[in-house]
Structure formats: structure tokens, C-alpha cells
Symmetry: C2
Subunit: 336 residues, 2 copies
């Protein structure tokens, strides 16, 4: 156990691809806790596309001030506690940041701290049973509402959320068209995850391929990407289609020049709905989603693809992999 608290702080705003140069490395004393607080030792960090906008703009949380510890989902162990709900030895997940030790009050803001159930390993807690799996389950099933016979399209399909959406859609028996970047990801999506078709947006004309892969149109679109891919799908939606907006990663690295969309009028012609959501708003649905995900994991019909980078010092590099297509499935950083 390190006796110091190593931290990455945001040192400049990345007006382009996010890299290690936007963060400063520093070492602080391990913090003391107050009444109602507990100390968490970080073991794994979660890498999520939303971290990029957090560094540069107000989103559903205020923009991270310069000089503060970089925000990040994480899993860790409670080391000391003055909080009645948490005891030393508890394994927990929450937004603990890029650091060895974090002080928490149990999550009074938008981000909850949750206890990791016994028997669940930390990478699985941060992917299948974490924000990632919950986002996929609730976004697809509550807002996408696929019906038998539907065609579901997923963008960013080889990413953490997308790869679960593909598998959950397949479990619901609908036709699944996955959009991802690169032949190897596309192969993996069809041969390993059960997508009916995969479109390589880097090499193929997405609109033309959608016409082939979704000949009756797109009933549900789970979008992690935005921009040209969203426009191409809008052009193919059916009457009453549901577009679930989870993310818009195509615009995150150059927000001022984020891609516009030109086909929103299709929502009128097709009487369709485009809805943004944030999983933290739907905590009342977590138990049901976890129950489904646990059952599918137990029967082996869903799997969590994990991509681990070793060492807190590599956290910025791990985050940047999300934007270069380096990761497949959930990107984590192993801290200790």
C-alpha cells in the first residue's frame, strides 16, 4: 500500500484529442476523513467517453475546474469509515477520480456510491453490473423498447455500452445491426456477440450498408456516436421509431466543430422519437436491470469484454484509447 496519494489533475483544457499533456501528476498526503465520510482506496478506474466533455464544458455536471483531480468512475475498497453505511473492507464503486485515495460521503451528488455484492469481481462490477451495463439495459429496454420483428441498430457497438446493447438486443430476439470501426471489431461483433450484421463505418458507406442490412428500416437506434452515423440512420427509420441518445462521441474531441445533423426532419415524416437519457436518473430501475444482467451472466448468454491498462500513471493514455478506437469492450485502468 502506498502511503501517498498519487493524483492526476486537469492542467489544461483539451481543445482536441485528450492526452497526458492535459493533466498534471502530483503526490499528496493520504487525506483524513470527517464525520459522515469514508476513505476509499482506488483499485480500478473506469474509462468513459463522457469524461472528455467533463474537461471542457458544462454538461449534466459543471465543467471540471483546472487544478482539480480528474473525475472518473472507479471501484475500490473502504479503508476507514466515519459513515454508518460503509465499513472498512467494503468494496464500492463511485466517481472517485484519478487518484489512489478518495474521501466520499456516500454520493450525495448525481453520482451514487454503491456497494459491490460479494462474489462479483471489480472489473465486472465496473462493466456488466456498473454504469455501463445499466446504461445498456435501461437505455435499450426502457427507451428503445424493441418489439419482436424489429431491427435494432447500435453505433459504437464494439465499445463498452454498445457491446452490451448488441447482446441484450440479441437476447430479445430482434435483428441486430452493429456499427463499429474496423474489420476485426466487426468480425467480433458478428461471430462472438451475435450481431446479425456489422457495418465498418471506416471503410463502408453506412447509408448504403444500412439499406442492405435493414431493408425494412430501423425501428430502434441506440446511438453512442452522433454526426454522420446518426444522419444515415435517420434516413432509414420506420414509422414510430425510437432513437435513444446515449452519447455523441463523434463531437467530443472537437466540440466547436462537432458534426451537425441534417436529417432531423425525418423524425416528423416518420413520427419518431429521439430521446436523450442519463442512467443516474433511473436508480429505481437498477435492481430489475441487475437481476436480468446477473441471470444472463449466470447462463452464459452475456459476457463482459474487458480491456485493462495497468497503472494509474497510464490513466490519460487509457482514456485517449476511447477516441482512437484502441479499446474493445470496457476500458479499465488497474491502479492497485
Amino acid at each position: 500500500m502506498t502511503a501517498e496519494n498519487r493524483q492526476w489533475v486537469l492542467s489544461s483544457r483539451p481543445r482536441g484529442p485528450v492526452t497526458a499533456e492535459h493533466f498534471g501528476w502530483r503526490t499528496q498526503p493520504v487525506p483524513a476523513i470527517d464525520e459522515g465520510e469514508f476513505l476509499v482506496r482506488t483499485l480500478y478506474l473506469s474509462c468513459d467517453p463522457a469524461q472528455r466533455p467533463w474537461t471542457e464544458m458544462d454538461t449534466y455536471i459543471p465543467m471540471l475546474p483546472l487544478g482539480e483531480v480528474m473525475l472518473s468512475g472507479a471501484a475500490g475498497e473502504v479503508m476507514e469509515s466515519n459513515h454508518p453505511g460503509f465499513a472498512p473492507g467494503d468494496l464500492v464503486s463511485g466517481v472517485f477520480g484519478w487518484q489512489d485515495y478518495a474521501v466520499s460521503d456516500g454520493g450525495t451528488g448525481i453520482f451514487p456510491v454503491t456497494k459491490i455484492p460479494p462474489g462479483v469481481d471489480l472489473p465486472t462490477a465496473l462493466s456488466l453490473f456498473g454504469v455501463t451495463g445499466l446504461t445498456a439495459h435501461i437505455g435499450l429496454l426502457e427507451f428503445g423498447r424493441p418489439e419482436p420483428g424489429d431491427t435494432v441498430v447500435v453505433s459504437g457497438a464494439a465499445g463498452s455500452v454498445g457491446s452490451f446493447v448488441v447482446q441484450i438486443a440479441r437476447l430479445k430476439g430482434v435483428r441486430v445491426v452493429a456499427i463499429a470501426g474496423g474489420a476485426s471489431k466487426c468480425d467480433w461483433l458478428t461471430t462472438e456477440l451475435g450481431a446479425d450484421e456489422a457495418i465498418d463505418y471506416k471503410r463502408e458507406d453506412v447509408g448504403a450498408r444500412l439499406a442492405e442490412c435493414a431493408p425494412d428500416g430501423v425501428d430502434v437506434f441506440f446511438d453512442n456516436v452522433g454526426g454522420e452515423i446518426l444522419d444515415a440512420v435517420l434516413d432509414r427509420i420506420t414509422i414510430g421509431a425510437r432513437i435513444v441518445l446515449c452519447g455523441a462521441i463523434s463531437g467530443y474531441n472537437d466540440f466547436d466543430h462537432r458534426p451537425a445533423i441534417r436529417n432531423h426532419y425525418r423524425l416528423i415524416i416518420r413520427r419518431a422519437t429521439m430521446r436523450g437519457f442519463l442512467v443516474f436518473d433511473h436508480a429505481e430501475r437498477f435492481p430489475h436491470a441487475i437481476s436480468d444482467l446477473a441471470a444472463w451472466a449466470a447462463e452464459g448468454t452475456i459476457k463482459a469484454e474487458i480491456d485493462v491498462v495497468d497503472g494509474l500513471e497510464r490513466a490519460p493514455d487509457a482514456l485517449s484509447r476511447l477516441f482512437t478506437g484502441g479499446n474493445r469492450g470496457k476500458q479499465l485502468v488497474k491502479v492497485a
Copy 2:
């Protein structure tokens, strides 16, 4: 009564502002009716923005073929009938087109033919109790769902649908911000129709004015316009906001260069919904909507602003007024 059937047919596709030069004038014999059909003499034509896209692209109906009678909502009188549901003397509304006489089977496609109740004059039947009033009522109340304390923004607010949305929103006791073009329309919206604020998009910065007029954000947006105005409103929506897409007139006259939107990511941050709708899908809600509209008309709390152009020969000019801002309220053409 003319013994001939004068008609405007679509003669070319207007790749820009729609004018009389895109239509051909011809005279045909009054058509004969078959079993199950009836003959309608057109008395008033309804001018609607959607007619413009019908001339150039597939929408929720196929693009109108060249050489066919221009499609148009209308009201008229049944002259002869071989249809069990319609008798000579019945006043009816339906999509009868730019012509003196139309043969109808009662409306088996997307557009219904409805009987006009006794005591309702034809201009009111085509505005308050027609597609226009139904669109405003159902779009705002079923899909916008304004709650007490909400701020509702309406674009194209001085148009036919918009002016009803403003009045219905005011009747629901919410704060109403109307967006229209020109000082006189804005004055009319605040002094006559009860909007709390009006923004003149031709002269004012819509985003800056929204910040003043909707300081707590926009909970419901009823959009007839799209483009820059939609983007400006997206930038101001509250968490859980409902954006109801009724039209996107800013792109109708130059579809290939229709305005893009850049702020759709706001739907994610604000967990908001953007939904297109078409009133014809919601016939089961018509009786309730008509009942509300009739009650408000009887108590004098809603009024139908009507703008009438005289003569079938002026139908193309009347339609073009929708795109130049010439009309206030419902644009009609009096045929006979």
C-alpha cells in the same frame, strides 16, 4: 355554379420558392362518380406548409407526380353521392385538391374525409376544428404535456397552428414565449393572443432573447420551423424537456440546403425528448380535442385568425404567402 372543373396541376418541381409558375391551369369536365364515391364541390382551400414538400419529395405520402392536381386540404359540399355515408348537401372537409370538383371515396388513405357539424362555418371548420386546431391541441397537450410553472416556446407562432398553440398554452396557465417574424405579428401575439413574450426572429438574436424571456429554461418547445431557431431553443432546454416537432418550414423551400442542427447533444445532457408527430395518426383523440376547442370557442377564450385570398386562380399565390410571412393565422382560398 361552374359547369367545368378548373384545376391547378403540378407542372414542375419547385427547387426554391414555390410560385404560380410551378403549376399549370387547365379545365376538365366535371367528373362522374362510381359506386362508393361522391362528388364534392370545393368551397374553400386550406394552405398548409406541408404542401411544399409534397411537391418535391416523398414524405408520409409519396411525392406528387407531375401533371396531377395539386394536393390541398379543402372544405366543400357534396353534390352527388353513391356512398352510403355521404349525402348531397353534406358539408365535408378532406384533401380535395386545387380544383372546383373532386371525387372522393370517403378517405381511405392517410387523409380522412370528415363531415362538418351543423352551425360551424367553413373557415372555422378548416382552422379551429380542422387539421390545424387538432394539430395544435394534440401536439401541445399529448406530446408537449405542459405542467403548471412550465415555460412553453412556440415557433411559427403567428401561423395557423402556432397561433392556436399559443392560445391553448395560455389557457393552461403556463408561461408562453412566441417566436415570429416581424414587429406587428409579435405585437399581435402578446396583445391579442396572450403570449407573455414574443421574439422577432428577423430582428432579434433568438438565443439572447430566450435567455431573457425564459430565464429558467424551456420546458416545452412546439416547433414549426427547425434550423437555427431549433438550435437556439435546444441550447436553453430544461432537464426532461419535451420538443414537439410539427414542421421544419425553414428548410422547405430549399431542401438540398436545409439548415442543419448542431445542438442535438443537448438532448442527452438535458435528458430531453424530441418527437415528430402527424395528427392523422391520432384520430382516437379527435373527439376530445374538438370538445375542448368547442368549449373554449364558446366561452371566447380561443379565436381563429383567418386570412382569406379570393379565387381558385390565386391558390399558388396564397400558398407562397406561407413562406414569405405574408399570412397571419390560417391562410385560406375562397373558391366559391
